[in-house]
């Protein structure tokens, strides 16, 4: 039976749209004993996105469903490429899940015939394409708000080694509160496919946002191509139309109502020469861009851990607590390293507590952080010189006595980018290396900053 409502099929690429789930027990089916499945929210070239709700919590989610038969039916080389792309999409979303402007992945499920990617439901039900399509262009102020979020998300992607490669307004979801979410990280590696409506992906507008070097299908730098796409989107937001009539010639005219500073930025972004095109660093120094800029606030992770840390006594020395404190950093670091969840670290010091606190405070101050002493053995650190770009970093530090003269210094991230946290810890370890007990404490092996 075909009771499910299906919204209109979008012409441009894959898309997702969200709506508050309404209880429709007769129309829903239970997926994996976890989710009620409802109706389709959108279609892509090789996947369908459905509205669902968590059976336990009632929260709405979006589930992207791939039919394995669609992949298995291809010839061997295409099949391999599609598998790699699907796995990469999942891995990319996993790496990016703490950023507020990226659609958040929850889990992945599979059966013998299908793959299900469970994602947050972006309540509000619109893409940026919907937004633009209904207007003749928006104010620069409004466009700037969306552009801020887009650039921060893409910058974060690049810092994690993820190149989106298919940025266009139909892949940018808008929540009801105006928050923009980048989605669809796997589609670009898939070969061009005819969709169910028979239209070729390459003919449906996504090319309007692709850099000229991409369209020419030669080797290109992914980061610079993504920046170009952001510029084409920005142009479209304000002008109400895509910039180019002939995409290969990459010529465009800015409408007369564009402000001078916007024209200057657009020209630097839509530079057909990648080597002279604006970089992310330069965007974050650009006059037009930085007006009314507010950095993103990352999802607060493990907050109860941080509260737990605050409430934990620092003087409760017994064998289990001692064992726990000494081993925690070793076990956590080792196991979490492979799982990319590096949210905390610790080291052992023989120095007095007040010397340790003074040392950390000095280093954090140099790095531009605000330091607050909570009491004689706890402190919190917030901000940082990169806060305007990488978002607000919040770290709790607690010093516990193991046994005289040894202290355990624990550093735990409560909010912000995990790579920035690693960078902070690396500086602390380098600057305070004399404080660190060499027998056990080891400098953390952080990933390279993007």
């Amino acid at each position: 039976m075909e009771n499910e409502k299906i919204p209109s099929v979008y012409e441009h690429g894959s898309c997702s749209r969200s709506a508050e789930p309404e209880p429709r027990p007769n129309d829903s089916r239970i997926l994996g004993r976890k989710y009620h499945l409802y109706w389709a929210l959108g279609f892509g070239s090789s996947a369908i996105v459905k509205l669902a709700s968590d059976v336990t919590t009632g929260h709405g989610v979006a589930i992207k469903i791939f039919d394995k038969e669609f992949i298995d039916g291809k010839k061997k080389s295409v099949k391999k490429r599609m598998k790699i792309a699907l796995e990469r999409e999942i891995s990319a979303m996993t790496m990016l899940r703490s950023h507020p402007n990226v659609v958040r992945i929850i889990e992945v499920m599979a059966t013998t015939t299908r793959v299900y990617i469970v994602m947050e439901l972006v309540v509000g039900g619109a893409t940026l394409l919907d937004k633009i399509g209904r207007t003749s262009g928006m104010s620069e102020t409004q466009a700037r708000q969306y552009f801020h979020q887009l650039i921060c998300a893409v910058d974060y992607c690049h810092s994690r080694g993820v190149i989106h490669r298919d940025l266009n307004p139909s892949n940018l979801l808008l929540a009801a509160d105006g928050v923009l979410k980048v989605s669809d990280f796997g589609m670009t590696a898939l070969p061009q496919q005819a969709r169910q409506d028979g239209l070729l992906h390459s003919a449906c507008g996504a090319l309007d946002y692709k850099a000229p070097e991409v369209i020419r299908n030669r080797g290109y730098e992914g980061e610079k191509a993504d920046i170009w796409s952001c510029g084409a989107i920005l142009f479209h937001l304000v002008a109400g139309d895509v910039p180019f009539t002939n995409i290969l010639q990459a010529d465009f005219i800015c409408p007369s109502f564009f402000s001078a500073s916007l024209v200057a930025l657009i020209r630097r972004i839509l530079d057909p020469n990648p080597t002279t095109r604006i970089t992310m660093n330069e965007i974050f120094e650009n006059e037009w861009f930085m007006e009314n800029y507010e950095p993103p606030r990352f999802y607060r992770q493990n907050f109860t851990f941080a509260l737990d840390m605050i409430n934990d006594s620092n003087l409760d020395v017994n064998v289990p607590n001692l064992v726990h404190r000494i081993h925690k950093s070793v076990l956590l670091r080792g196991m979490e390293q492979g799982l990319q969840h590096h949210q905390e670290t610790s080291f052992i010091s023989q120095n007095p507590v007040d010397e340790i606190i003074d040392g950390i405070e000095r280093v954090a101050g140099i790095m531009g952080f605000d330091v607050k002493r909570i009491n004689s053995f706890r402190m919190s650190i917030e901000g940082g010189a990169n806060a305007r770009r990488k978002g607000h970093l919040a770290i709790f530090i607690k010093i516990s006595e193991i046994a005289q003269p040894f202290h355990m210094v624990e550093l735990r991230k409560a909010e912000g980018d995990v790579l920035e946290f690693h960078n902070f810890c690396k500086h602390i370890y380098a600057a305070l290396s004399d404080f660190i007990w060499k027998g056990r404490a080891e400098p953390i092996d952080t990933e390279t900053d993007g």
């Binding site: 992945v108 017994n318 064998v319 925690k328």
Partner: protein, 219 residues
Amino acid sequence: MGCMNSKSVRKFPAREDSLDLAAETAFTVNEVEALFVLFRSISNSIVNDGLLSKEEFQLAIFKNKKKDNIFANRIFDLFDVKKLGVVDFEDFVRSLNVFHPNASLKDKIAFSFRLYDLHNTGFIERPEVKEMLIALLFESDMKLADDVIETILDKTFVEADLKQDGKIDTEEWETFVKRNPSVLKIMTLPYLRDITISFPSFIFNSTNVERVDETSTRL
């Protein structure tokens, strides 16, 4: 160890095995399958036999097989349910289950008790605790004076040994742990909730046959 030879290296768990493990643990079928991807990578890191040895376990945790660690050794011994010196996938999943956020507090308390019961006497006794503490300090290259060690042990047994009979039984341990919640922190690995997105390649081999969307249009 003839039984090792009789085990062939499986490419993926059979459907029935995944279903059984999911039924008796907090993991779903898909999570069991994702754990297999993890298990296969760590268990084949030294010897490609489909079984996890203590060396491979140490390597997975410390990224350095030369390091020894009494705590990791103890965890491995408890995972090694059949006492064969190696852990198979089924025991790996069942044992790892105690670290799941949804595992019962009772199971976590019981497992943590056995971590400290080095000689499997059914009690946590002062010599065992001292042995573990000294080994721990040695591994950390930390030197504490003998009287400091005795002081810490005294303090611990004053707190935990309510009957003051020189050893801690399971009942006393439960009371102690509930008054010292941080002791159980090590018993929960929150990222076990994220196991499917951490090891997504299981999706291509899944034997899960959940029936869903019978009437939906094929993609």
